[in-house]
């Protein structure tokens, strides 16, 4: 008795095709997510740098470098807004920390229930007296 082998290659192909599609989906969405993470990181740096330049004039007059927390916060947020980024700004002492979050469409990964990928980038900048 010879077993009926009809469809065996079709089945094998179905497995191969779904595997390859999964690779395409991972490369595509994963690559976009990596690019978005790099961008979030760079935006966070830019915002933190801008914030850390809001040095208090009164502090300078007194001979110390301190930030004006309100102005630092505003400056960092303005940079985020200009870049169209979503982020949280924290001013503490001379340091401005920014965390940018972004979501990337999952593209093909939405077929397996991953509609978006969340990425984050954080950076901080500190105002220091020059020499």
């Amino acid at each position: 008795m010879i077993p009926n082998q009809e469809g065996s290659i079709t089945l094998w192909f179905a497995v191969l095709a779904s595997g390859l599609l999964a690779v395409v989906g991972l490369v595509w969405a994963g690559g976009d997510a990596l690019a978005a993470k790099a961008r979030a990181q760079s935006e966070a740096f830019a915002a933190a740098r801008a914030g850390a330049q809001a040095v208090s004039g009164a502090g300078l007059a007194a001979g110390t470098v301190v930030l004006n927390p309100m102005a630092a916060n505003q400056a960092a947020k303005a940079v985020l807004a200009a870049a169209g980024a979503n982020g949280v700004v924290d001013v503490s002492g001379r340091t401005v920390s920014v965390t940018v979050s972004a979501s990337v469409p999952g593209e093909l990964l939405s077929l397996v229930g991953i509609a978006t990928l969340e990425v984050r980038g954080s950076a901080s900048a500190t105002a220091t007296p020059g020499t």
Partner: protein
């Protein structure tokens, strides 16, 4: 006709039909890799070019700094031909925007893909300026 259906050769036929489809899918993997890689390097190059431009001392220097930063990022990538330009005033607190585009080959696939991206960077408020 016996009780068993004669399926001699059907596997070969299926293989003949499905192989092109499998090759097509493999091509899609290669395509996705090249496209995503180009988009990534272009995005990174635009960010670096914009930041480099803001650290220059003069407007002309900003352009060459941006070109140099983009060239450094794109060296060794698939970007056969690329261009970078920078706009915005180099004034303290201003924003400079770099636009980078790259045309990449698709490896073993025919055709090419062009990726483009822009990025902005803020010019430092407390900075040196060109004298004279």
């Amino acid at each position: 006709m016996g009780p068993r259906r004669d399926d001699a050769g059907s596997a070969t036929l299926e293989l003949a039909v499905l192989t092109p489809a499998a090759v097509l899918l493999l091509g899609l993997v290669v395509l996705a890799g090249h496209v995503v890689s180009a988009r990534q390097v272009v995005s990174q190059a635009a960010q670096d070019a914009a930041r480099a431009a803001t650290t220059a001392r003069s407007q002309a220097g900003a352009d060459s700094a941006a070109q140099a930063a983009a060239a450094a990022d794109l060296a060794g990538t698939d970007c056969g031909s690329w261009s970078a330009s920078v706009s915005g005033a180099l004034v303290p607190g201003g924003t400079m925007t770099a636009a980078v585009s790259c045309t990449t080959s698709l490896g073993i696939l025919p055709g090419s893909f062009t990726a483009a991206n822009t990025a902005g960077a803020v010019v430092d408020v407390y900075r040196g300026v060109a004298t004279g």
